[in-house]
């Protein structure tokens, strides 16, 4: 990202925040159950998956409830961030065609809105953690790093699909399938250890898998993550971001005409 562009975005930081916060509030004000609904949604999903998978599959994982809940909340962040990104540009034609501002402002706001929602959902997780008396240890110092690279990864993907969706409207249907497949190939319901090592290696290529696994290690099990996992997830996220950003920059000049 060139320095000039970062300076310009910095000038618009207030716009980014106002849109993100306004959107976050609006989502909850508009439903009858309000803020409660946003907690209910992941909770219902969690309860169903927990009943099915803890009994049916006899998954033997320590603190499976928390293991599952953390996986769901983290995966949901990616789903929300990319879905908001998908509509960030095509959902605001009047802005794009009538006034100038850096277009990525809209995508960044979308990912921040998703982050706010996920932080809010985490309240449930924190309550569970206190209830199960999970010890909090020094390994939590890895958490900011893990969450930062996750944010960068989600932003990279959101930038790419937000721009592609302007030109190819079927991206949104393809994306539904991608997210569905992603839910099952990412270790959300199961630990990677259920697979033979050769298969595990393939699953570990998915940076989101690495991010979720290391987040569980540091939050639930007080296990310091492998530096290889951290480095791989970090580099993969930066590469995805760079690719997503360059796709966005390439397609951005003709947004106003293509909409």
């Amino acid at each position: 990202m060139p320095g000039d562009h970062i300076r310009e975005l910095y000038k618009y930081r207030q716009l980014i925040w106002t849109i993100a916060w306004g959107d976050f509030k609006w989502r909850y004000k508009n439903s009858i159950l309000g803020y409660f609904w946003s907690l209910l949604e992941p909770l219902i999903m969690f309860i169903i998956l927990y009943i099915v998978f803890s009994n049916l599959m006899k998954v033997q994982v320590e603190y499976y409830q928390l293991f599952l809940l953390l996986g769901i909340i983290m995966w949901n962040f990616f789903v929300k961030a990319t879905n908001l990104g998908l509509n960030a540009i095509v959902g605001k034609p009047s802005l794009i065609q009538r006034v100038y501002f850096p277009r990525d402002v809209l995508v960044i706001s979308g990912v921040i809105t998703a982050m706010l929602q996920s932080l809010f959902e985490s309240l449930v997780f924190i309550i569970f953690m206190i209830y199960f008396a999970i010890p909090m240890t020094w390994t939590l110092i890895y958490l900011p790093y893990i969450l930062t690279i996750y944010f960068i990864l989600a932003l990279g993907v959101a930038l790419a699909i937000s721009a592609l969706n302007v030109y190819y409207r079927d991206i949104q249907f393809i994306w539904i399938v991608v997210l569905q497949a992603g839910f099952f190939i990412t270790p959300i319901l199961y630990p990677l250890s259920i697979f033979p090592p050769s298969l595990q290696a393939i699953f570990r290529l998915n940076p989101i898998a690495q991010i979720i696994v290391t987040a569980r290690d540091v939050i639930l099990y007080s296990v310091p993550p492998y530096w290889v996992s951290l480095a791989y997830a970090g580099i993969a996220s930066l590469v995805i971001f760079a690719v997503g950003y360059s796709i966005f920059r390439r397609l951005e000049p003709r947004f106003a005409e293509a909409m």
């Binding site: 106002t18 306004g22 508009n30 009047s94 009538r98 006034v99 190819y168 000049p253």
Partner: protein, 241 residues
């Protein structure tokens, strides 16, 4: 130094013969490449606008006026040529840009102000003034979707005039509305002129152009037909290009 200088500006729209807006269509396009029609929206346009000047742009529909404004505003990029501006450009192409019906009046004022480059403190200081000007004090926290059309326009207008533009781009869409509203628009224009704001004014209303603009550009089918003293340019336009 001129406020705006435009040289050798070209804008070409490539219009596909057959619209392809899905990934599937794009992939089949690899086998059978799409064909395009090139439409020159602007061809070799050159002009400068001096600091504090009010500059008119006239021409028939489809002459490229709106495209030119959008390029000046940074909303579209030129195909070739350069556009240089010495200060911030404030486009005023439509009332209520960026207004969201699910936001309240105050929230919309905030978002609009930020888009137009005002700081948070400036905006907070102006909210009351804006609502008062539009006669909407009672509807401060009402969502826009519950506004009548008239209230919407009043809010949009009073919000828009509170921004402190340096270079103002004004499109004819402002001329919609009743007599009183148009009068209000023109009085605001005079106020901006007195304050030394550079204004680029696009209009079909030749009387306003005559009264306000010192120089005028006449466009026809994307080409620059004439540029100079407003009187001469408008006379030529009225006689027929």
């Amino acid at each position: 130094m001129p406020a705006v200088s435009v040289s050798h500006l070209n804008k070409v729209f490539r219009i596909p013969h057959e619209k392809r807006d899905t990934l599937f269509a794009a992939l089949t396009g690899l086998v059978r490449p799409p064909t395009y029609e090139s439409l020159y929206a602007l061809r070799d346009v050159n002009f400068t606008v001096e600091e504090g000047e009010m500059f008119g742009i006239i021409g028939q529909n489809g002459s490229g006026k709106s495209t030119l404004l959008k390029i000046l505003a940074g909303i579209m990029r030129p195909t070739s040529g350069t556009v240089e501006t010495s200060k911030t450009v404030t486009p005023f192409l439509e009332l209520g840009v960026g207004f969201q019906v699910d936001f309240t009046a105050v929230e919309n004022i905030r978002v609009y102000g930020i888009i137009m480059g005002l700081s948070e403190r400036e905006i907070e200081g102006k909210i009351d003034e804006i609502l008062e000007f539009g006669g909407l004090e009672k509807f401060r926290d009402t969502k826009l979707k519950n506004f009548s059309t008239g209230m919407y326009v009043r809010l949009a207008f009073s919000t828009a005039i509170q921004t402190r533009p340096e270079i103002l781009l004004l499109d004819e869409v402002l001329a919609v509305g009743d007599m009183e509203f148009q009068k209000k628009c023109l009085s605001i224009l005079d106020k901006f002129k007195r304050e030394g704001v550079t204004i680029i004014f696009v209009s079909h209303d030749l009387t306003s152009v005559r009264n306000h603009c010192s120089r005028t550009l006449l466009l026809a089918k994307g080409e620059q037909v004439m540029m100079g003293e407003t009187r001469e340019v408008v006379d030529r336009y009225e006689k027929g290009v």
